[in-house]
Amino acid sequence: MTSYFTRDHEWVRIDGDAAYVGITDYAQSQLGDVVYVELPEVGKTFAKGDDAAVVESVKAASDVYAPVSGVVVAVNGALEKSPAMINDAAETDGWFWKLTLTEPGELDGLLDEAAYRAFVETL
């Protein structure tokens, strides 16, 4: 499956006409231990760049932006019980929400995996 990334450290993994969204391993390492996550409501529509979720470490709360526009069709409820899953598996089991893409063309403006990893190297 193809994955795309943002410079705000979100990832989008394409799954047919839907996509999973999460934060990158670099993002979780910068946040530190995640103790709380606020997920969007199923059915909610986001435009690219909207505040979509909140992830909180011991120290601070951080917004997670919608990396692409779409309608939320599922959320990863397991994160609410086990927010540390975001630290352990940020780019796999630690996905935040699944959406149907309303503007698939937006993917062209995101980074591919190699470009994102190279970007992180510069930070």
Partner: protein
């Protein structure tokens, strides 16, 4: 001092060691300080509660107030604080407050009377890093003839905190083990000349060790070589003190909050309450008699969402009644914890509160602090 003109962060004598240990350094009160080490805030917090955590607090201000004899120096400090320092016994420590003429708090600080008779007339002050320059100027400007304030810029300060701190100290500084909480002594730690206090700001038993800056790295390496000891950053220091219900200057207390509002009545000595004669006594004694308009309280949010500093507090009818001044996740408490100010009529234990977090109402209630019981060492008589 903290106000470097070129805005380059200052460093403590342990900065190189922090980097060697893999610390993430952040700016704090003009210093570059470790916010966490590779194990992370949660692990560091829990390690301190279960074993012994080592904190670099060398950014804090250490200064000596020097006069001809104890009574004279004590009276000079009493002119600036509501504490009873004339009654402070040798080798004892008191928490006190520098107050403004309006009854606000310039800083909170620890004051120690030396146990050594040859140092009679000297009180040691430990003040907040971010308030050093303000405190020192304020104190110096208000001292009588013959009393001087001498900042000790050549000293480091480290804290060893946690239930295993005493057994670790016993190996290197045997006399430390028998010290009572809030006492201090000049002791040798493996040959290093140290001023050791049994005190701290985590709610746990522990020590603060003042040592020459040049000796500090060697001393800290000895402590870190002990299996019970791990280095702990400012992140865990904050979650530990919040669970312990302790105020952080600039957040929970400032020049607008009075000691009575801040529920720091224990720092208002009995004799000083009766006599007055400290800055802000009018407001402070008035609030003691009539009750303050607002009060610092513990706040227990329901659910899992932390309520951070600045969160608005409302009553059941939606009226704003206060603000959260410290809030976050308490690792030992196992959930969100907070403190803040509410209008006095809403300060009773159990009072329901509404916290406005990201535009949503979050149910909470007023609870007793600390959130995690203090485990200070009380010497048996």
């Amino acid at each position: 001092m903290a106000d470097s003109a070129d805005n380059l962060p200052l460093e403590t004598p342990l900065a190189d060691l922090h980097r060697e240990l893999g610390a993430r350094m952040v700016p704090f009160a003009g210093y570059s300080m470790p916010v966490q080490y590779p194990k992370g805030i949660l692990a560091e917090h829990n390690w301190t509660r279960e074993s012994a955590g080592l904190f670099d607090v060398s950014h804090m201000g250490q200064a000596f107030l020097v006069g001809p004899d104890h009574a004279t120096t004590a009276r000079a400090l009493e002119a600036l604080t509501p504490g009873d320092f004339q009654a402070l016994a040798p080798g004892r420590i008191r928490y006190t407050l520098l107050t403004t003429p309006e009854g606000g708090i310039i800083d909170d600080l620890m004051v120690t009377r030396s146990a050594d008779p040859s140092e009679d007339g000297t009180l040691t002050l430990v003040v907040n890093a971010g308030r050093k320059a303000i405190d020192y100027a304020h104190i110096a400007a208000n001292l009588p003839e013959g009393i001087t304030l001498e900042p000790a810029d050549d000293l480091a300060l480290v804290a060893l905190q946690g239930p295993k701190a005493a057994e670790v100290m016993a190996r290197h500084c045997p006399d430390a083990a028998a010290m009572g909480f809030m006492t201090a002594a000049r002791l040798a730690f493996d040959g290093f000349d140290c001023h050791v206090s049994r005190s701290g700001y985590t709610g746990e038993d522990g020590y603060e060790i003042s040592v020459k800056a040049d000796d500090s790295e060697a001393l800290v390496r000895i402590l870190l070589a002990e299996p019970e000891v791990e280095p702990i950053g400012l992140g865990a220091r904050d979650s530990l003190r919040l669970e312990a219900g302790l105020c952080l200057y600039g957040h929970d207390i400032d020049e607008a909050t009075s000691p009575v509002e801040a529920d720091l009545g224990f720092a208002l000595a009995k004799r000083r309450r009766a006599e007055g004669g400290f800055p802000g006594a009018g407001r402070i004694l008035g609030e003691l008699a009539a009750g303050p308009a607002r009060l610092r309280v513990g706040i227990q949010p329901e659910g899992r969402a932390p309520a951070r500093e600045g969160t608005e507090i409302r009553d059941a009818s939606g009226t704003t009644i206060g603000i959260v001044t410290s809030g976050g996740f308490g690792p030992t408490a196992g959930g969100p914890v907070a403190m803040g100010y509410v209008a006095a009529e809403h300060a009773a234990l159990g009072t329901p509160l509404t916290l406005v977090v990201r535009g949503k109402d979050l149910a909470a209630s007023v609870v007793a602090m600390p959130f995690v019981p203090h485990r200070y060492f009380r010497k048996q008589a």
